[in-house]
């Protein structure tokens, strides 16, 4: 098509990874930059490809001392957990009382502090990864499946976050900021519920129809944004914020009418349960279930990776994201890219809704959209707007969400502390210079991971 010559030689001239590099969060190889301005963002354009070395001991040490992205991420999680621990301790009345009498009983103060932190964090860990007790129980006639229950919960929590994260990431790569995943989520949820309640189809087909419907529902909401931006030049940040509220109210309206989407004999704003034929099945039987929704999320991530890194359209996305004027000079239709990027972003947010609406037993309510849309922004940011990164970030946040619920139930520490930890992780990951300063790491030869970006790329 109408594409600059750089496109063809993109993947070919690039240093290919000989074997998995030391960095797990390393992004998939990106095509070389088109004529990008110096100030263009790394989020939109991708950091320049870095030559990878074979995994030797020296390379590992170098990666640690120079603060490779993986090391930075691990250190960021570490600092965030320490700050979280401080927050837990400083707001624990038992600990504070113990410290007030520190001079009489210093041991009590220290042990109370330790108990407060360790009980909260071990509950967080047991809720997210695994609980040592279940292994012992399995030897004494307990269920082996119970060992994997926390992990399946993590996958379950991560599913919608991965999909909304991909939604935000796709828009980022095309140089736009999608705050509207929440509204697009509602669009998808409405269509999925409507089809799931209204249609009578055989078991597998019904679920597939609903998932496709959810994608289309979200895509329509996204398309409105892209089309308005392309045709009138209106700023997508305003449009998405406003459309979120429009969609919230539309959802409430549709759920308030018996003739529309309200469950029969209900006065609450709640939809009927979708038909069982439309539900997304769980793989692997109870209770460690990995929902089909999780597989959809992984497939979507793979699809987005292929689109962004291997397809002509993805190349156009990234070029427009790096510099619309350069893309226009190269003959790309920038407006069309904006529309398509938002269409896809909306569709992905719609899929996120499908995994919730069809994946769990509760019907749609007026506040089902929760915080999926806004969490998607942090997931995309932590994942550096790359599909693999988004999946890993989604899993991390899913683990924190799942663990946070158990932590609140077991120790009474409010699960909001998990939000603080999540925010701090993203903050520190985005600020490698700060981590280097704190841990006295040397500055590596590679470019800084994050550059800044303005309202207009």
């Amino acid at each position: 098509m109408n594409e600059p010559p750089a496109a063809g030689q993109g993947p070919a001239t690039e240093p290919r990874p000989a074997e998995p590099g030391p960095a797990v969060t390393e992004p998939p190889p990106a095509a070389p930059e088109p004529a990008a301005p110096v100030s263009a963002t790394s989020l939109a354009a991708g950091s320049p490809p870095r030559a990878r070395q074979p995994l030797t001991g020296r390379a590992i040490i170098q990666a640690i001392t120079e603060g490779s992205p993986a090391v930075i991420t691990i250190l960021a999680i570490f600092i965030a957990l320490i700050v979280g621990a401080l927050l837990i301790v400083l707001s624990d009345p038992v600990v504070l009382r113990a410290w007030a009498s520190f001079s009489y009983a210093p041991g009590t103060a220290l042990s109370d502090t330790w108990n407060s932190i360790s009980s909260a964090y071990s509950a967080l860990f047991e809720g997210a990864i695994f609980s040592p007790g279940t292994i012992g129980a399995a030897f004494h006639g307990g269920s082996i499946a119970a060992i994997f229950y926390p992990l399946s919960l993590t996958a379950f929590e991560a599913t919608p976050l991965i999909l909304t994260g991909l939604s935000v990431a796709v828009a980022f790569r095309a140089g736009m900021f999608n705050i509207g995943a929440a509204g697009q989520w509602v669009g998808g949820a409405l269509v999925a519920t409507w089809l799931g309640v209204g249609l009578h189809l055989p078991i597998v087909i019904h679920a597939i129809v609903c998932v496709i419907g959810a994608f289309i529902g979200g895509a329509i909401v996204g398309w409105i944004v892209g089309e308005l931006k392309a045709r009138t030049g209106a700023h997508e940040v305003i449009l998405t914020i406003m459309l979120n509220y429009v969609m919230y109210n539309l959802l409430s309206y549709l759920l308030s009418r018996q003739s529309l989407l309200q469950a029969p004999h209900q006065t609450n704003l709640v939809a009927p349960n979708i038909a069982s034929s439309a539900a997304l099945p769980h793989v692997g039987g109870p209770p460690p279930q990995v929902g089909v929704g999780f597989l959809i999320a992984l497939a979507a991530a793979a699809g987005v990776w292929w689109l962004l890194s291997r397809s002509t359209l993805g190349f156009q996305f990234r070029t427009v994201g790096a510099s619309p004027s350069a893309a226009r000079s190269a003959g790309m239709r920038v407006e069309r890219v904006w529309v398509l990027a938002f269409l896809l972003a909306g569709g992905l947010a719609g899929l996120s809704a499908a995994t919730i609406v069809q994946g769990q037993s509760q019907p749609l309510t007026f506040n089902s959209y929760g915080t999926y849309g806004f969490d998607g922004i942090t997931v995309a940011l932590l994942g550096r707007a790359r599909p693999l990164g988004v999946v890993l970030a989604g899993l991390l946040f899913g683990a924190l969400n799942g663990g946070g619920t158990l932590m609140e139930a077991a120790t009474g520490v409010p699960s909001d502390v998990v939000d603080v930890i999540k925010g701090l992780i993203v903050l520190f990951v985005a600020a490698p210079p700060l981590i280097r300063l704190l841990f006295r790491l040397r500055r590596g030869g590679g470019p800084e991971a994050v550059a800044a970006k303005g309202w207009t790329p």
Binding site: V246, N249, R257, S323, V426, A430, L434, A451, K453
Partner: protein, 423 residues
């Protein structure tokens, strides 16, 4: 470098002149068909004073349908004018204002017609002023930051943190004034963090803003559950500012109750609007700030301290947003609740972009938004045959139409969001 950072001219699909004219015409037809022909027979009554007010102003009666037809005709006339002749910039803005006003008045006539209860205009406008306070202050905070070249998406977090600290301090110390100061400082603290990471650690400012919002929501939510709620009598007692009526001005009919009979935060808002507008556009200080926001290299060359200017402006902006947050608790309901800012910060952000990064434009956009929110509430009371949830959409849809149909592309300060690294 300049060629690369110059704003990209976007070839807009539709000619803006016809787009605006088309929007005018659609609104005019809506006046006639939607409101005029569906209006109840009879007069629309507008009350111009609050119930029981001493200088009583007589209510106005208008024949509803006729009024709608007239307003529609004016709008369509302006659409034709706009499509056929090239107007000066000032006249263009005037036509937009007139058409929007016509649409609004038709809407009000339609809603009020045939109602036993008159539509109280003073009440509506008074509500608009108070509902707009957090939006105005948030948008002003955005202007302060972004005019110096730092993107501030963290307005939401600054409002929330200001609201939390304001309520906690006012309640714990029993002095509302200290709550105001505390809330403002809390907003300023978030501003300081924003400035530090954006200016010194070169973090992407959009990431940063979103993260600070998450942090503020998490931190206030955590502390609310852990401390504020269990010890509510100490930390969330619900202290509020009293109403202050300005001696002479407050007695003027209509204008008095709307503008000069509220709590201290409205007056602080007036002062801040003037300070920010005059400061940014009529003083040497403002010229320097804008220079830093447009072309930091040039500003540095002539001896302006770029990083210091940005730090100062971001922190001041945070303090302004913090005051907006104080309004939400100490200025209005008194109590703090989780997520009490409920997206106001994002709406303020939209208002700032809508107002083209100017203080007065942002204030106008914030007022428009506050007004349409109040209007949808007022229409709900008037038993208008439209479901309440659809009415609640009105402010947002109105903003989308205004942004897409009338404003279009906006240009941020040239260096907005780009950290300055001395070469």
């Amino acid at each position: 470098m300049t060629a690369l950072t110059a704003p990209v001219r976007v070839a807009v699909g539709v000619n803006r002149r016809y787009l605006a004219a088309g929007t005018f015409a659609v609104l005019g037809v809506a006046d006639i068909v939607l409101f005029g022909s569906f209006a109840h027979p009879g007069d629309a009554v507008f009350a111009l004073s609050l119930p029981g007010a001493t200088p009583h102003v007589p209510s106005i009666r208008v024949p509803a349908a006729t009024a709608c037809y007239v307003f529609g005709a004016i709008s369509i006339g302006l659409a034709v004018l706009r499509a056929t002749t090239e107007l000066s910039r000032r006249l263009k803005r005037l036509t937009i204002a007139v058409v929007l006003l016509c649409f609004l008045l038709s809407l009000l006539c339609w809603a009020a017609a045939g109602n036993s209860l008159p539509l109280n205009v003073v009440d509506l406008l008074q509500g608009t002023m108070t509902a707009s306070i957090p939006l105005i202050l948030g948008a002003l905070a955005g202007c302060m930051c972004e005019r110096s070249g730092v993107i501030n998406i963290a307005i939401e977090g600054q409002l929330l943190f200001g609201a939390f600290t304001g309520a906690a301090v006012a309640s714990a110390l029993g002095v509302t004034w200290l709550g105001l100061i505390g809330g403002s400082l809390a907003g300023g603290l978030l501003g300081l963090i924003l400035a530090m990471f954006a200016i010194s650690f070169l973090v992407d400012q959009i990431i940063l803003g979103v993260v600070l919002n998450v942090l503020a929501a998490g931190l206030t939510g955590y502390l609310y559950d852990r401390i504020m709620q269990p010890y509510a009598s100490t930390f969330n007692a619900g202290n509020t500012f009293g109403t202050i009526k300005i001696p002479v001005l407050g007695n003027i009919p209509i204008i008095g109750p709307v503008f000069f009979d509220s709590n201290i935060l409205l007056y602080i808002t007036y002062a801040l609007i003037i300070l920010v507008q005059v400061g940014l556009f009529s003083t040497r200080w403002g010229l320097r700030v804008r220079a830093v926001g447009e072309h930091p290299t040039a500003a540095d060359t002539v001896g302006i301290r770029v990083q210091w200017t940005r730090y100062r402006n971001v922190i001041l902006g945070g303090m302004i947003a913090g005051i907006g947050g104080v309004y939400l608790t100490v200025g209005a309901v008194g109590f703090f609740n989780k997520d009490i800012s409920s997206g106001f910060g994002y709406i303020a952000l939209a208002a700032m972009i809508f107002g083209r990064w100017t203080p007065l434009g942002s204030v106008a956009a914030a007022l428009l938004f506050g007004f349409s929110t109040q209007l949808s509430a007022a229409l709900g009371i008037l038993s208008v045959p439209v479901p309440s949830f659809i009415l609640l959409m009105v402010p947002y849809v109105a903003t989308i139409i205004a942004v897409a149909g009338l404003v279009g592309r906006v240009r941020p300060p040239a260096a907005d969001g780009r950290p300055y690294v001395k070469a």
